[in-house]
């Protein structure tokens, strides 16, 4: 690595560059959700009462539980990188698998939460929802799209981290070449950050 002081040997490796690229990609994710937060902000501004009313339908307990799950998974992800840096491969793999388990728990939780809503007839285009006020229709539209897209990102994260676990077990990610694990970690933390904002904005306006 340091032999290529001028950087660009044929098979070159540039960990900083890789992370820089990953961060740039994360910005696009951030702004993707940012666009939805903009829509949310505008509609919450123009339909304040209805948003409060609609948010009462959401279960704060589910939301809080999922927040704790996701924060803890972020911790295990960060620790798995440290473990690898300390050359504790087994521990790192264990921590990565723990992260995946937490992510799946998040999705199971989400599944029950959505099922309950569907059970009450609260889904896009449903008769129950269409009878409600405009603001509530908008609220639930945004709720399903934003938490849904976030859930999709959780699933992608599971696949991504799973791949990294495989690479780690096959020694394709090692204690002196782990930039891909770092990139997966960055992605996972971003998913966490988005939830950090989704949680109070949907579950805690009462």
């Amino acid at each position: 690595m340091s032999s290529s002081e001028h950087g660009i040997a044929h098979v070159h490796r540039d960990d900083i560059g890789s992370r820089l690229g990953m961060w740039l990609f994360l910005f696009t994710e951030l702004i993707l959700f940012g666009g939805m937060f903009i829509v949310y902000a505008i509609y919450r501004f123009t339909h304040q009462q209805e948003f409060h009313l609609a948010a009462k339908e959401l279960n704060t307990l589910f939301g809080t539980l999922n927040t704790i799950i996701l924060l803890t998974s972020s911790l295990t992800m960060a620790l798995s990188i440290t473990a690898l840096q300390k050359n504790q491969k087994g521990l790192s793999i264990f921590l990565q698998l723990t992260t995946i388990v937490f992510a799946l728990a998040f999705m199971v939780n989400k599944f029950f939460e959505w099922s309950a809503k569907f059970h009450h007839g609260l889904f896009p285009g449903s008769d129950v929802l269409m009878e409600k006020s405009n603001g509530e229709i908008l609220f639930f539209g945004l709720y399903y799209i934003m938490t849904g897209l976030h859930g999709l990102h959780v699933i992608i994260g599971v696949v991504l981290i799973g791949t990294m676990t495989y690479f780690t077990s096959k020694n394709r990610i090692t204690s002196d070449n782990y930039v891909r694990l770092e990139a997966a970690g960055l992605y996972w933390h971003l998913v966490d950050i988005i939830w950090i904002f989704l949680f109070p904005l949907f579950y805690l306006i009462t």
Partner: protein
């Protein structure tokens, strides 16, 4: 492309390379930035021809009032497809993806971009997006007819193929994002030793600003189109007023991307002009830092002016005032560039080769486009000319007269380096003049009739506008004649043109002129060490003072 000489001068050029498969496969799966650039070039020119065809047919329809050659529904689809193809498949990728890919790493003294495989993925996404756009034409339901802006609520109500068109734009956005992040990382990480930020060629600066806009603004259109897809597919209430949504919010989000997108298109063209002018004036560029920073300034201000597309939708007075003011501010960095180009030309020893002719045409046409932009930016005038053909004329002067001519300038400038063939200079000049005249005859009457009240996108019109429409349609024939001459010249050069291994036909000073022609597979045997500024001309008596300032 394959019929290329392997006139081996002791190295393997990127055209000779036979490492990965043969024939087509060695191209479409190549991660070499130069080959990817050529792939974009071919794809983009094909889409351009399709877009021109739609434009030609629309103009033909408008030659006389009433029905001429097509019915109104077809006409609506044509202007929609003309817009989608020209914007998403021609001018947005035109300079960054083609010439940025080909020359950015060479100009930086690098062997490739930071993420070569991602680069190839970008191209494939571009092709998939392009195919989706084409599919949108032929699926049952009829070609999309919303205009390229997909305004709500019509885009959730119409039964035409909005869905594939939205998906196409989404995928193309993804492609554009990946190209952008690749370039930003490349410029940060792969500059040759000694090349600090102010030794980079100005084209690189322009690509840098553009790449940032691509990364930051494109996700907004991505999510907006995705929301429309959800709204159409599942009946979510987001923008549709019937479900409580706000269609004006859609317009805001659409333009938060689509206005900066205008700068994705124009800034790289400005970069090309900044390369060409010093070479053909044989003078150091005047005000290097001003040109470099004005690219950044345009990118910044350009992100704050989107709502000037929406002065008639009923925004708040405060917002109208702010957006109008900011719109005027964007003119400053643009003008900085124009003044610096002209100052570079002043007392230069100018050779009027085709690339310079296109560059000069760029300055002229872009200035007209820019000034008419200011006219529209003032609120009161905007009310009068909003949604008239004045706007159509304005953005064609900027987009076609600006970026389009920028692309042609780049093609004429870099063609010998890319293909190691000479094109016929005389035909190139003849083609240029016909194109230039045709362009003005085509678009200038639109200013006049727009001012007189001719609405844009209309299929039919009152008889008093006919003379302008007639002149404009004749202009389209002249313009197409010019295009045919230009492309015929290039194709002839590719097939039968004189081969050349001349390293530096124009006398340029940037790094791409210091690698062999055609460039070797990995550009440099040894990474160069940069010690001088990018534009050092010896016969530079007048500009000594400015050089000091640049240092």
């Amino acid at each position: 492309m394959t019929s290329h000489s392997s006139s081996n001068n002791g190295y393997e050029s990127y055209l000779d390379y036979r490492g990965k498969g043969t024939g087509l496969k060695s191209w479409i799966f190549s991660t070499d930035h130069k080959r990817i650039g050529i792939l974009y070039l071919i794809a983009m020119l094909i889409f351009f021809v399709v877009g021109v065809t739609f434009g030609f047919l629309m103009r033909l329809e408008l030659i006389a009032p009433g029905k001429t050659i097509m019915d109104p529904q077809t006409y609506n689809s044509f202007f929609t497809l003309h817009g989608i193809i020209m914007i998403f498949l021609f001018i947005i990728p035109g300079l960054p993806a083609v010439f940025g890919n080909f020359f950015l790493p060479i100009m930086l003294g690098a062997k490739d971009v930071s993420f070569p495989r991602l680069n190839l993925l970008s191209w494939w996404l571009f092709i998939i997006g392009g195919l989706l756009a084409i599919i949108a034409v032929f699926l049952p339901g009829g070609p999309v007819d919303t205009g390229w802006t997909f305004y709500i609520p019509y885009s959730v109500r119409t039964s035409t193929n909005v869905f594939p068109a939205l998906l196409a734009a989404f995928v193309l956005g993804f492609s554009s994002i990946l190209t952008g992040l690749n370039f930003v990382t490349t410029i940060h990480r792969l500059r040759a030793p000694g090349m600090d930020w102010f030794k980079m060629p100005l084209f690189v600066w322009s690509i840098y600003s553009t790449a940032w806009i691509q990364v930051l603004a494109t996700p907004i259109i991505g999510i907006t189109l995705l929301l429309v897809i959800f709204e159409r597919a599942f009946g979510f209430g987001i923008f549709d007023p019937a479900l409580g949504g706000d269609p004006v919010l859609f317009q805001h989000l659409f333009w938060i991307y689509s206005h900066p997108a205008v700068y994705i298109m124009i800034i790289p063209a400005m970069g090309v002009i900044s390369e060409i002018i010093p070479v053909f004036a044989h003078r150091t560029i005047f005000g290097y830092k001003f040109i470099a920073f004005s690219s950044i300034a345009i990118a910044l201000f350009g992100s704050m002016v989107w709502a000037h597309h929406m002065f008639t939708v009923g925004m708040s007075g405060a917002a109208m005032f702010i957006f109008s003011l900011l719109t005027f501010l964007v003119a400053i960095p643009s003008a900085v560039k124009v003044f610096n180009w002209v100052a570079t030309l002043y007392k230069g020893s100018i050779s009027t080769d085709p690339p310079l002719l296109y560059a000069l045409a760029f300055i002229f046409l872009f200035s007209i486009g820019g000034f008419t932009g200011l006219i529209q930016g003032s609120l009161s005038v905007n009310m009068h000319i909003h949604d008239t053909s004045f706007i159509v004329a304005h953005f064609h002067y900027v987009m076609f007269g600006g970026t389009g001519f920028g692309i042609f300038a780049a093609l004429h400038y870099w063609f010998p380096k890319m293909f190691a063939r000479k094109y016929n200079m005389k035909s190139a000049k003849v083609g240029f003049w016909i194109l230039f005249v045709g362009f003005n005859v085509l678009y200038f009457p639109m200013f006049v009739m727009g001012w007189l009240g001719m609405p844009r996108r209309y299929y039919d019109y009152l008889p008093e506008y006919q003379i302008y429409h007639f002149i404009s349609t004749v202009g389209s024939w002249i313009l197409i004649t010019g295009l045919i001459i230009m492309f015929a010249n290039f194709i002839h050069a590719l097939l039968k043109g004189e081969k050349t291994n001349e390293m530096n036909p124009w006398g340029g000073e940037t790094l791409e002129w210091h690698v062999p022609t055609p460039p070797p597979l990995e550009n440099f045997d040894e990474i160069p060490i940069i010690e001088t500024d990018p534009y050092q001309y010896k016969d530079n008596d007048l500009s000594n003072t400015e050089v000091k300032e640049v240092n």
